[in-house]
Symmetry: C2
Subunit: 207 residues, 2 copies
DNA sequence: AGGATTTTATGCGAGATGGTACAAATATCG
DNA sequence: CGATATTTGTACCATCTCGCATAAAATCCT
């Protein structure tokens, strides 16, 4: 029984937790990421996190609630990474490639086989029957569009991009390239092939 | 389209079927389309097709086998429609818009809420754990790319497209736009918004 | 030490799930 | 008509599924 040292927490009153909630959430996310929401059972989640069912339930609520927490965490990480990759001061093509490289690092982060994007691979499936997930998806995708569009506008101001280019159009195309990379990664494309795809797309978008 | 022998079959020996296999397959596809592979139970499929479980099993095999048949049918229809939309003799921009309009017609074909693309919304989720599905996905996406690329090459020969454009790059971008449309349709975007997105993207691709 | 508090661990229970056995039903063939 | 062939419908089985009740364990407070 390993005691998790957590210094920033004051002293808790009862029996100490045998798990780190944040780490457990990441492991649960891995399980959902691999098999999707419906394809992941509580036993799978229990095995992945090392927590038994009552502990899982006490920490995260029911299965859907745990999934929503994992989804929210993924959105935060993905949007944060994108925003950072695009914001740094680089030539436009480098910025875009940075964003796609960052995405690929996530899509191929599984220990086993490439899992693609957590959102695209698991949440989209549930979107028809779950309004909360569905609305979160639209919000997130529009945030991607907005980040790309801002980057294209900046490039236009700097003279990196033709004046007659349409930043909004290029932005949804850039998101589209991200989506097709995510889908193809899960479909067995190699990382090298997708890097090449990204390079070609960036060249076409910036040329 | 291959006509499966129906009435032209001489005479079957035993009790006649109470269902049309082709229609049942379409209804089963609808059920999977809505809830995904894991999210659809045999009871759901039984209700959707009007067939009881033993009949379902006799006609299509087990659940996975039925799903694979639905997936194969969808691929055939989707690829056929794309190929036809792109092949007809039209200006490049019209061809592309035709392809996206055709896709949107499928993505919004549900009686209830938009279901997006059957492949993207259900098969991609299963791709990690099912090699057969995964390999079919890569084959299908590359077929999309190939059709788009052929169309861009033709446009280049006709002088519709700049000589320095990269048809292969434009093709994966065009597939990417298709994918992001599919994802957004299931995520609640309106059809009008996606038509506008497609128009913008086509303008950027052909300009 | 002894009570209070919180977490862990076992395991139960009601229902869903995928798949099948078996007999009744409905057709053709001889 | 009776034999044969095929499908249907009911009912069933073994397993999984989610969620929770309950008691034991491990810590803090007085």
């Amino acid at each position: 029984m390993v005691q998790i040292s957590n210094d920033d927490e004051p002293k808790r009153r009862g029996r100490p937790r045998a798990y780190d909630p944040q780490a457990a959430l990441l492991r649960a996310m891995d399980a959902f990421w691999k098999s999707g929401y419906s394809g992941t059972s509580l036993d799978d989640l229990s095995a992945a996190t090392g927590m038994n069912r009552p502990s899982l339930y006490a920490a995260f609520g029911d299965k859907r609630s745990l999934y929503l927490k994992a989804l929210a965490h993924y959105w935060q990480v993905a949007l944060g990474a994108m925003h950072a990759d695009l914001a740094e001061n680089r030539p436009l093509a480098d910025s875009l490639m940075r964003a796609y490289e960052g995405a690929l690092a996530i899509y191929f982060s599984g220990e086993d086989r490439a899992r693609g994007c957590f959102v695209v691979s698991t949440a989209v499936t549930e979107a028809v029957e779950d309004a909360e997930i569905r609305e979160g998806l639209m919000t997130g995708f529009l945030a991607f569009d907005a980040d790309f569009e801002a980057r294209f506008r900046a490039a236009q101001r700097n003279g990196e991009l033709r004046d007659d280019a349409d930043p909004a159009a290029l932005a949804v195309i850039a998101t589209g390239v991200m989506h097709t990379i995510a889908i193809r990664a899960r479909s067995g494309a190699t990382r090298a092939a997708l890097e090449e795809l990204a390079r070609k797309a960036v060249r076409a978008l910036c040329g």
